[in-house]
Amino acid sequence: MDSPLIFSFASIFGWAGPVIFAVMGETLTERAGVINLSLNGSIILAAMVGFAAASTTGSFTLGFLAGAAIGALVAMLIAFMSITLKQNQVAVGYVLAMATKSLAYFLGAAFVGKPVMQLPVVPLPILSKIPIIGPILFQQTILTYLSYLTVIACYFWIFKMRPGLTLQGIGERPAAAYVRGADVNRLRYIYTAVGGALVGVGGALYSLSVKTWNGQLSGIDGIGWIALAITIFGGWHPVKGAIGAYFFVLLQWLGITLQPVLPNVNSRIFQVAPFPLMILALLLVNIGNAEWVDRTLAGLPEDSRKLANKVLRGMRTTPPAALGIPFENE
């Protein structure tokens, strides 16, 4: 039952945990109309701080809490500088992405060689006995289970619950939401912080389960940018975002699995290949929005045009209308 292939397949869901947390966090933040562009740095800083906290106290809980706190703190700084101080959100996010990464490497050098903590695998009682699915999905760490739950929770929060309606409102038509009694900027602060905390949990998960802290996170630099791309790829929808995250990790997994098959290609190429592929996927979901595509399609015969429209519509994503635009109540 525990064949190597299944074991290897199961690792996809474990590896995807941090990406899932980051994508869910960013989805919430961007749904509220704020772009947190700092992910690539804040994930690494949260990983470092989470590792430091867990390693010195011996407590996983404190490690994850510290990671979440750092993620929320960086996100709050973005909210403060863009919402209150009216600075360019993209600029602030970019600088923070750079600065927090450097900070993580600088301070993290002190924690190289400290005791390594790795989350234990906790098989779920009945579910893990299901053939094939059980060992793949339900012989994981608690945080991996939490990552599944986070996706479901985000979905219900955004689309099935009342506060989610307000969340969509402040990202799409903040003025209308304001008129209906929503404190737009306060809510944006809250969602940015919550989203940042989720990103921080993802970071801590890297250093406490998927990888470990050795002065950096090998092979992880760039993951924050990918999480941002996946958020767009998923059309700001938690379930589609999760699919994107699993797809990306599947590509990484394929790279590692294929490497022995193609020995004359350098291993570093397999490491970087998923990154451009993910961006190409982004192109696919965006191209339906372009004007020239509409024009070209208009020239096609009726049947094929309908089909093409259907395909493109299905993939097309549109951002929250007020994404990145500051709101001022007159």
């Binding site: 600065a99 190429i269 970087v272 961006i279």
Partner: protein
């Protein structure tokens, strides 16, 4: 002086408020904040800030040799920043600069590799290598622009994507077909000395490279500040919709901004190969694209202002390089100081505009 009198004529501007509102004092406060934050970070690592700053000063300006190294590294940074001036002016975030520099380096190395061992004079090969590098950088930048214009892919993600692809190509080349005989080192064979840009005696500095940088600054300043083209580009950046209404072909101007930025990226790539590194290697771009974005942000679309800012940034980087040897501290301190500096300036800018608005409103 004139601003001072204007501020003073305003009612209810207290002493501290005055400090925050005045541009010069606001900048000084920002710098002090950044230094304070750096000191806190250093205290966390049990390092003596005074000792650290002394070591960094020594590392950057302690000797003629150190100073020429700062000057030499200033060249690619200022050129990268000058390229980014075009995209910044057009309201674009060319985060793909890093990959464009790599492509420039690959293209220029390809030319030199082709001519190595032939009778073609070295000077001519260097010129061809520069032209080819410029072409490479330009193509890579245009791809991001085309993706933005025709694929609706935001230039930040398009740029990052092409950075990753350029990385992959570079890795493939230096570990694959262009690998020198023997174990793969992540770099190609050293160029023959006839393909090096001439250097000053007993230093790494090339006056040719320095000249290219200075000419670059002058050209960009004239183009952006003194021509109709610069004005239109600025209009596109400020408000693409209304400039389109006014008859400026917005998307063509954006593409042009990308192309011009790519030209400078290619220049940096070619300089890295012929002037500084003399090989093609992994991470040949040296982070100048990423750093250039920060310098560009601080310079506020003023090319001449970028000259001293780039110099300070490079001095911090070079200064921090010595920390690893002398004090066993990680060199990433440079990134911490640079990032904090930009953040603090932005915070103080925000505070300043907020206060000015308030005192006008009341």
């Amino acid at each position: 002086m004139t601003t001072q009198t204007i501020e003073k004529s305003k009612p209810n501007v207290g002493f501290f408020r005055g400090l925050l509102i005045r541009r010069s004092t606001s900048l000084i406060i920002a710098i002090l904040l950044a230094i304070a934050f750096t000191c806190i970070v250093l205290e966390m690592m049990n390092a003596d800030p005074v000792q650290v700053f002394k070591t960094m000063w020594q590392g950057a300006f302690g000797s003629w040799d150190a100073f020429t190294q700062v000057l030499q590294a200033w060249v690619p940074l200022i050129l990268a920043t000058m390229g980014l001036m075009f995209t910044f002016t057009a309201g674009l975030w060319n985060i793909g600069m890093e990959g464009q520099i790599e492509m420039g380096a690959i293209f220029s190395y390809a030319v030199i590799r082709h001519f190595t061992g032939t009778a073609t004079p070295g000077g001519l090969v260097i010129v061809l290598a520069f032209l080819s590098g410029i072409l490479g950088g330009m193509i890579w930048a245009l791809l991001v622009g085309l993706l933005k214009n025709y694929g609706n892919v935001n230039e930040i993600f398009g740029g990052l994507g092409f950075n990753f692809i350029a990385d992959a190509i570079l890795l493939f080349l230096v570990y694959g077909p262009w690998k020198p005989p023997g174990v793969a080192q992540g770099s190609t064979k050293m160029l023959d000395a006839i393909y090096w840009l001439p250097q000053l005696k007993s230093s790494y500095l090339s006056l040719w490279a320095l000249a290219v940088a200075i000419i670059g600054v002058i050209v960009v300043t004239i183009l952006l500040k003194g021509t109709y083209f610069g004005l239109k580009l600025k209009a596109v950046g400020k408000n693409p919709k209304s400039s389109f209404m006014l008859g400026i072909p917005t998307s063509r101007y954006m593409l042009l901004a990308f192309a011009l930025c790519g030209v400078f990226a290619g220049l940096v790539g070619a300089l890295q190969v012929t002037g500084f590194q003399h090989v093609l290697r992994n991470s040949i771009s040296g982070g100048y694209g990423y750093m250039g974005l920060m310098v560009g942000m601080l310079s506020n679309l003023q090319p001449l202002l970028a000259v001293p800012i780039a110099f300070i940034f490079i001095a911090i980087s070079k200064g921090a390089a010595g920390l690893a040897i002398d004090m066993q501290l990680d060199t990433n301190l440079a990134g911490v100081i640079q990032g904090t500096l930009v953040l603090c300036v932005m915070i103080m800018n925000g505070v300043r505009t907020l206060l000015i608005k308030k005192s006008r409103g009341s």
